[in-house]
Symmetry: C2
Subunit: 204 residues, 2 copies
């Protein structure tokens, strides 16, 4: 959060708004992780963020818009992490890109643990329709397409889409097992690398 503020330090007012919105989004994810999606309301999130409800309403005119922003902020943060991880590699190998994408899914720190809990809260609640369900599905399909594109570029597999579906399943399944407490995060990373070796070849 702080580094982001520094990064974009040239336009303080605008950045502060964005930072503030992100702080509210973070509070929203903590509510989801603790109590599920059903518990998300402007009031609950304001309380969790330690701000007034009026301020939350100033940024988001509905619960739905707040949820959509929170989903987008997860993607945005993931993109930032990936950019940092691939920095200095002007043309990173497809395998490195896929690894950067999928390690953003694994619960390797508190932030990603919370995001994992949120995903499973969503699935536990039925993965039903609604704007959030549609956005999540669209995000997943876009993510799978991005993986498939890299597999197409870097691997000799006959069906990149199927390999991509499997790769994302591996990442989400490993996430489930880490969150369930019977798989060590380091072992999850090793298992992910095994799958990458399988798709891209042990050297790739």
């Amino acid at each position: 959060m702080r580094s982001h503020r520094v990064m974009l330090g040239g336009v303080p007012k605008k950045v502060d708004h964005h930072v503030r919105r992100r702080e509210i989004a973070d509070a929203l994810w903590r509510v989801v992780a603790a109590k599920g999606f059903a518990a998300v309301s402007l009031r609950q999130v304001a309380a969790e963020a330690g701000v007034s409800m009026g301020l939350v309403q100033h940024y988001f005119d509905s619960r739905e818009r707040m949820l959509l922003f929170a989903l987008d902020s997860v993607s945005e943060r993931a993109r930032e992490h990936i950019a940092v991880e691939l920095a200095g590699h002007p043309e990173p190998a497809p395998r490195a890109v896929v690894r950067a994408l999928l390690t953003q899914v694994l619960p390797l720190d508190e932030q990603r643990r919370r995001e994992g809990h949120a995903l499973f809260a969503f699935l536990a609640e039925g993965g039903r329709g609604g704007v959030v369900g549609e956005r999540m599905r669209a995000d997943m399909l876009r993510f799978t397409d991005a993986l498939a594109e890299q597999v197409r570029r870097g691997a000799a597999t006959p069906d990149p889409e199927r390999a991509a579906v499997l790769l994302l399943a591996v990442a989400d399944g490993l996430t489930a097992h880490v969150l369930g407490g019977h798989l060590d995060p380091a072992d999850a990373l090793t298992a992910l690398d095994d799958q990458l070796n399988h798709v891209f070849g042990a050297i790739g």
Copy 2:
């Protein structure tokens, strides 16, 4: 349920008790799927099962015992399904055993969809300690061991445990995507077969 009753028809009284307990366990899973683990109480489950709270108390003297029985009933039912699937193969190939084990995880029918929701409800609620958490973890580890044993017997991989961790991650990850509504159950099965081809060889 009915076929089980017929199967063990020789001892009606005892079987009826077991059937009754299973019906209560089924009601428990419906409560979990709809409202999460936190909503499980003897009262809620009695209401969902359409029986008196006294009857539930007759079978289970605590919420915890009821939860543990419900977990065991999932494993028991999975074993029955696997036995049916492998019937007539006195010595089934390791690949067939692994496939039978893992297709019991995929949400290919309403029952397994509910079990999938329940798993994710558990993870969403933090996969924390407690008797249920410990039992779930123990079940997962036992399941992984069973997979590893078959991989050891049937595949040439240097590390059967790691292959088993990946196989279970694939099954649970595919389950997440089917429940999330962005993966077709048939495509999940195809992806699982891809992974089995990888581990056991395309012919295996």
